[in-house]
Symmetry: C2
Subunit: 452 residues, 2 copies
Amino acid sequence: MSHIPDQNHLDTLQTRIIFALESSNIGIAATILQNELSPPEIAHILESSPRKVRHLLWGLINEEDQGEVLVHLNEDIQQQFLEDMSAEEIVETTQDIDSDDLADILQQMPSEASHRVLQLMPRDERSQVEGLLAYPEDTAGGLMTTNMVTIRGDVTIEAVLRYLRKIQLPKSLDVLWVVDRRFHYQGSLALTELLQSNSQAIVSSVMDTTIKAIDATTHEDKVAQLFERDDLVSAPVVDEDDILIGRITIDDVVDVIRDSADHNMMRLAGLDEESDTFAPVVRSSKQRAVWLGINMATAFVAAAVMSQFEASIEKIVALAVLSPVVASMGGIAGSQTLTLVIRGMATGHISKANLSWMVMRELGVGIINGALWASVIGAITVLWYGQLSLALVIAAAILVNICVAVLSGTLLPFILKSARIDPALSGSVILTTLTDVFGFLTFLGLATVFLL
Amino acid sequence: MSHIPDQNHLDTLQTRIIFALESSNIGIAATILQNELSPPEIAHILESSPRKVRHLLWGLINEEDQGEVLVHLNEDIQQQFLEDMSAEEIVETTQDIDSDDLADILQQMPSEASHRVLQLMPRDERSQVEGLLAYPEDTAGGLMTTNMVTIRGDVTIEAVLRYLRKIQLPKSLDVLWVVDRRFHYQGSLALTELLQSNSQAIVSSVMDTTIKAIDATTHEDKVAQLFERDDLVSAPVVDEDDILIGRITIDDVVDVIRDSADHNMMRLAGLDEESDTFAPVVRSSKQRAVWLGINMATAFVAAAVMSQFEASIEKIVALAVLSPVVASMGGIAGSQTLTLVIRGMATGHISKANLSWMVMRELGVGIINGALWASVIGAITVLWYGQLSLALVIAAAILVNICVAVLSGTLLPFILKSARIDPALSGSVILTTLTDVFGFLTFLGLATVFLL
C-alpha cells in the first residue's frame, strides 16, 4: 500500500530534477515529470522554480496533463504561461478541465484574449463558461460551479435513483439540490439520506432545509466564514430571484481561506502583489520599491521632526542615542495591537458593535505595559547616564508613546476601512510614522523643556 | 427562502445583545441567544465578547446547545469554560458531540482532569475517545474521526446497499473505505459510484485506488498541504501496519489551514499565544510584555552601538537625524524578504532544494533596490544638508544595509529552523536587531572615518 507522498518526497524529486537540468540530462527530468508526479505536484514544482526553469519544465510535461497543471498553478504563474499561448493552444490545453476552473483562468486574462478563446469553444461549453463569467471573481458567483445535480421535490426517491443512473455525476458529490418547477431552491438531499430513505417516499418529505442558499453577489470572504462556521462541504448559490444557479464546493473555499490569511500577512510586510515566490527579480524589485519609497518618505518625516531638536541633541548627545529606543517601543506595541485588530476584523470578531470593548481593553494593556517598560527603561537610563531627570523624561515619553500606539493600532484599521483603504496594506506604515513622530516629539520635546 | 445570515446580521444581533445587557434586560439577551442563533453563531458571539460578558451569556444558552457551542469555540476560550466545570458537568454537556470533537476538547485539559472525565463516560465511547487520544493533537491521528463506514472488497454492490440501509451513516459522507479482512486499506468507493454501479458488480472491481492513505503520525500541516493540493474532501488514515483507523474530513483541515496562516502573521508581530481576541487585559499584557522586553533589549544593543560614536554625533548632528533612516530602510527590506521566505516555507515552495535560487533572487532584488534608494536618499541628503561627502556615506550605508537585510531575511529562517526555533516567532526581532546594528555601524563608522 503506497502512502501519499509527503513534502520531503517532493523536495527529493525536485532536487533530482534540478540535478538533471544542471547536468543537461533533460530526459531524466522529463521522465520524473511524466511518470512520477501528479498534475498538482507538477504545479507545485513549477511554482518552486524560477521563471526560466519553469518554462523549460512546462515543455517536458505530458500534453494531456497541461490543463490540470495549469488549473493548480497560482494565478500569477498561470498568467505567465497563458501569455505565451495562442487562443487555439489555450482551448486545446483546457478542453478537459471543469467549467468553473476554465472561467477562473479566463477571468485572469485580458478581456480581448479571453473573448478570442471563448469564440473558439463549442457552443454549450461557451454559454456555461459565460454564465460563470457574469459574476466578479471574488463573489459567490465567481466561486461557484454550474456542475451540480438538481431534482424536483414532488418526485419519489425511486425516481431519483433511476434518474441518477442515467446522468453523469460530478465527482465528490455529497448532496443533491431540490428545486421547484421554476428552479427556485427548496432544500437539499444528502446521498446518505437518499440511500436510506424508503423508495416510495417523496423527496420534499425527506429533504433537509437547514442548508441555506448563498446569494451570488456575496463576497468570497463571507462565503469562507460561512463554510468555516457551519462546517459546510458544499452550498447552493442563487441569483436575485432565488433561482438556483450553481454550487460552491469546499475545495474552492479552501483557496479563499488560504489566500485571505496569506494576503493579510504579506500586506503587513508591503508585499501585496508578490503571490509568485519566484517572480522575476526586476518585477519584484519594482513592487517592493514602492513600499521602500513610502517607508523612506515617512522615515524622513520622522527625521525632520528630530532635526527640529538639533540644538538640544548637540548639548545632550544621549538624546540621539535614546530616541530610536522610544520610537521602537511604540512601533512594536502598536503593531501588536494592529495585527490583533486586523486578524479580528478578518475573522469577524471585532466590529463596530464591540469596538468600544476593544479600545478599553487595548488601552488597559497599553497602560500596564507602558508603565512597566517606562520604569525599566528609566532605570536603565539612570544606570547608563546617571541622570535622574533624563530617566524621568524618557519614562514619560515611553508611557505616552505606547498608549498612543495601542490607541492608533485599534482605531486606525476602522478609520482606514471606512475610507475603503485596506488596513493590512497601509496600516503598519501609517502606524510606524505616528509612533516615530510621537516618540521623537514627546521625548525630545520634554527633554528640551526640562533638561536644557 | 431565507438566505444564510451574513456577518452584518450577526453584528446587529450582537449589538442588540449588548444593548439588552447594558439596560439589564437579561431576558431579551436570552431570547436572542436561544431562538435566533445557531451554536456556531453563539460561539462566534462569545469569542467576540470580553470574559465577564462571555460567562454571563454562557449561562443564558439552552443546555442542549452548550456542547455544540463548546466545540465551536477556539481552544483558549474552551479552556476557560472547562476550568469552571466539574467532570460530571463536562460529561453531561458533551454527551451529544462527535467523538473526535470530544477528543480535541479533552486534549486541551490537564491530563488528570481529562482522566476524570473519561472515567465517567460509557465504556464504548470511552474506548473510542481513548483511541483518538493516542495520537498527538497536531498529527493526522489527532485530526481524524473514527466515525466512518468501511466495506469489504469482495462483496457485491447490492450487498453494500443493503448494509448501508441498516447502519447509522455519518452526515456529510461522500466515500466509503474498502478494506480487506484484516482491515488493511484497499481503496475508496464514492457514493456516486455506488449509485451508478451494476448491483451485481464486486466492490473491488469498481473501487477507486487513487486516494492514498495518510499515516497517522503525519504532521497536520502536511495533511493540510495534501488536502489543498489534491482537492480532497476526506482521506483515510492508517497506522504503522496499514490498518485503517479513521478518516480526516475537510472541515477539520480548514481549521488547520486557517490556524497555520494565522499563526505566522500573529507570530511575526510577537503575538504567539493571543488566539483569544478578548483575553483578559492582565494576561495579554504579560504575553506582550515578553516581546516588548526582547525588543527593548535589542533597541539598547543598537543604542549602545550608536553611543560608541557619540563624539562623531556631537560634531555632526545630522548623523543623529539620519541614522534612524538607514536602520529603518534595512528593517523594511529585510522584513519583506523574511515574510516572503516564511510564507514560502509554509507553502512548501522554498526548501533546501531550491534555497540557492532564492538567495540569488533576493540578492538581485537587494542590489537593485539598494542602489535605487541609496541614490535617492543620497540626493535628498545633498539637498537637505548640502554636503556631498555626507550623501556618499549615507548612500553607501543604505546599499550595504539593504543587501545585508535581504541576505539575512533569506538565510535566517533556515538557520532558525535547523535550530528548531520557529522563524516566524523570532525571525523579525533578530532581523531588526541585525539591520539596526549594521545600519548604525556602517553609517556612523563610515562617517567617522571619512567625514571627521
